[in-house]
């Protein structure tokens, strides 16, 4: 695990991140329309078992309505990921401008983090199956 200072080279990525966050917020009124076009989850339709991503679009709609807790209950990882993505997009350019440090995870720490990520995915799937989203 090591830290490195951000530099001007990181700015294009930070700006792209900002653009993504701005676009996500700007497109919020279109989310209900987009949700109508999305096909239903085939696994859930066929077997009654929700897939790992089930509830993501409903979580996005709940977030667009301002129902944060409802979104978290529908699909915790997707909700947290979207919020982190949007907040990160607005923070990133300033972070780079200040040459603030960022973390580079390598070696055994990265391996442990990967295990944690897989466990989080498995836990979310079990949760979605248990609550029958």
């Amino acid at each position: 695990m090591s830290w490195r200072r951000t530099g001007s080279g990181d700015l294009p990525i930070a700006l792209l991140w900002l653009a993504s966050a701005v676009m996500a917020l700007a497109c919020m009124p279109l989310f209900p329309l987009a949700a109508r076009v999305l096909p239903p989850c085939a696994l859930h339709t066929l077997t009654g078992i929700p897939c790992f991503a089930c509830g993501s679009s409903r979580a996005v709609l709940a977030m667009a309505r301002g129902d944060w807790l409802g979104a978290l209950a529908l699909n915790p990882l997707a909700s947290l990921g979207i919020v982190a993505g949007c907040v990160g997009g607005f923070v990133a350019p300033g972070w780079v401008a200040l040459h603030a440090p960022i973390l580079a995870v390598r070696g055994s720490t990265a391996r442990w983090l990967r295990i944690v990520a897989w466990c989080a995915i498995a836990a979310q799937w079990v949760y979605l199956i248990l609550v029958q989203r």
Partner: protein, 261 residues
């Protein structure tokens, strides 16, 4: 215990020791200082790729715009592995994004226009593909395609972020996120298949998958299997249902064949 000098007639004498009469080898030159990190920018030249090859023509200084563009197209189409091995490991994304727009935009436009022009035929041949939940507006679709330079880089960024996340989850992210984004940018050459009517989008999707597979494997220096796993993992996790759906359709088709035959 006192250490003795090595005996030249000793049969167990290590081979790597120089003969006693030979002159001492000259001292190796001091190691070169680490190369200073290339200041990434939209216009600057990238450093040579780690393999010692020239950078991909599109990023080569001195090569003209059209020559660089044509050579990159040719290299990606004929030997994509070589092309991706020449993709320099830098933070610069301006040129790859420019390339992605140059090849992606016409492809998106063409695919949209073909889709609108052949909509009635497609609905007739593939009624299950018809979107019943929403009224389609050709004008809006064309405007959306024309505005691709605005949303396409953002889409590439988001897809690359997801792809890099899954690559990291399978232990394949040996290089930074920017390299994943650069692979994705150069894989947009497959969007040109959108110029082909009817099956253009399908060809583009297949080409995109193949190019990404080769690109991720070459740039992150991982096996094709791991790259494939990283690419398919989102499908397996989020749409694992698709595999089940296809197998059920296959089973139903086989059953109907059996019943009919």
């Amino acid at each position: 215990m006192e250490e003795r000098p090595p005996d030249p007639n000793d049969p167990y004498r290590p081979h790597d020791l120089p003969p006693p009469t030979a002159p001492l080898p000259p001292e190796p030159p001091p190691p070169a200082p680490p190369p200073t990190e290339w200041a990434p920018s939209f216009g600057g030249p990238p450093p040579p790729p780690p393999s010692g090859l020239d950078p991909i023509p599109w990023e080569q200084r001195g090569l003209g715009f059209f020559a660089g563009f044509y050579e990159t197209l040719r290299l990606l189409a004929t030997s994509p592995r070589k092309a991706y091995e020449r993709v320099a490991v830098t933070q610069a994304i301006g040129r790859p994004l420019g390339f992605a727009l140059l090849v992606g935009w016409p492809g998106i436009l063409a695919a949209t226009l073909w889709d609108i022009a052949l909509q009635s035929q497609l609905d007739e041949w593939m009624p299950w593909m018809r979107t019943q939940n929403i009224e389609r507006s050709p004008i809006l679709e064309i405007i959306f395609a024309l505005a691709a330079p605005l949303w396409f880089p953002v889409l590439l960024f988001l897809v690359a972020a997801l792809q890099h996340l899954f690559l990291w989850m399978v232990g394949g992210a040996r290089n930074s996120f920017v390299q994943t984004l650069r692979v994705l940018c150069y894989a947009q050459i497959s969007a040109l298949a959108g110029l082909v009517p009817m099956c253009g989008s399908l060809l583009a999707a297949i080409g995109h998958l193949v190019l990404q597979l080769i690109g991720l494997s070459a740039v992150h220096r991982i096996g094709m299997g791991r790259a494939l796993l990283a690419l398919l993992l989102p499908l397996l996790l989020c749409c694992g249902c698709i595999a089940i759906l296809f197998s059920m359709f296959g089973a139903a088709w086989l059953a109907s064949m059996k019943g009919g035959g």
